[in-house]
């Protein structure tokens, strides 16, 4: 799946600048960063409710493709600013974490 598919889907709102149309690898849904650190890989999308600058630290260390904030949580402007600096696309969704996973899976049957 490619990032443009998210941009064109009304369930997701892009919070950062328009990104390059990169390829998304796998899906990781987790709110504990050590678990993300141990289990996520380059190109993965992270779904989380952590409104937190450390999410960007982990995303950039692991070269994740993008982050989706679920449950319509508030995302601080400082995080969006920093994400633009680091070139990490951020999306927001009204859906629950589980619903985002289902939807992504439906959008791309190759994601396990």
């Amino acid at each position: 799946m490619r990032i443009n598919q998210l941009i064109n889907n009304h369930s997701f709102t892009l919070l950062t600048n328009t990104p390059d149309d990169v390829l998304i690898n796998n899906v990781v849904a987790c709110d504990l960063l050590s678990h993300v650190m141990a289990n996520a890989d380059e190109g993965d999308v992270l779904i989380t409710v952590l409104n937190n600058i450390n999410v960007l630290g982990v995303a950039s260390l692991l070269d994740l493709s993008l982050v989706i904030f679920s449950y319509n949580i508030n995302v601080d402007d400082s995080i969006i600013l920093k994400a633009n600096e680091l070139n990490i696309p951020l999306f927001k969704s009204n859906l629950t974490t589980a619903e985002v996973v289902y939807l992504l899976k439906e959008m791309d049957k190759t994601i396990e």
């Binding site: 050590s34 141990a38 380059e42 952590l50 450390n54 982990v58 950039s60 260390l61 692991l62």
Partner: protein, 145 residues
């Protein structure tokens, strides 16, 4: 290379690991090798930020290994074998709010590193982790090797 790590400075947590990552990539080390080191350094650096009164990190990159030593000034780990167990955590509400406290950091460090030395007393904790570089860990041969 020496770094200062401040207590509770969550905004800058990750600095040591991202600089380490950059240096290793520059040396032409493979993605999987760099990832192992990055995970280990990140977890160790976060532990100093959220559990200690502050400390230092020393990064040493040799031709055949990478070693990073973290030293802090307390309060220390009460029982190392307990702390090494997956899921054990004494993380503060502040740390948990910031996404830490799964009790996975030390086990992660153990699993990604080749050697791990951990010693602790009330006066502080020393953690040394080493990663051996094998020939196949070079993606591109460094110029001076």
């Amino acid at each position: 290379m020496d770094f200062q790590i401040e207590r509770n400075d969550i905004a800058n947590a990750g600095t040591v690991s991202s600089l380490t990552k950059r240096h290793l990539k520059k040396r032409g080390l493979s993605r999987s090798f760099v990832k192992r080191v990055t995970i280990g350094v990140y977890e160790a650096e976060i532990n100093v930020v959220i559990h200690s009164y502050g400390g230092t990190a020393n990064l040493n990159i040799e031709n055949d290994y990478v070693e990073i030593e973290f030293k802090d000034v307390g309060p220390g780990i009460e029982c190392i074998s307990t702390a090494m167990q997956e899921g054990f955590s004494t993380a503060s509400p502040y740390a948990i709010e910031n996404g830490f406290g799964a009790g996975m950091g030390l086990p992660n460090i153990k699993s990604v590193s080749d050697e791990m030395y951990l010693d602790s007393s009330e006066d502080g904790t020393t953690l040394r982790i080493r990663f051996y570089i094998k020939d196949e860990d070079y993606e591109n041969k460094p110029i001076n090797k």
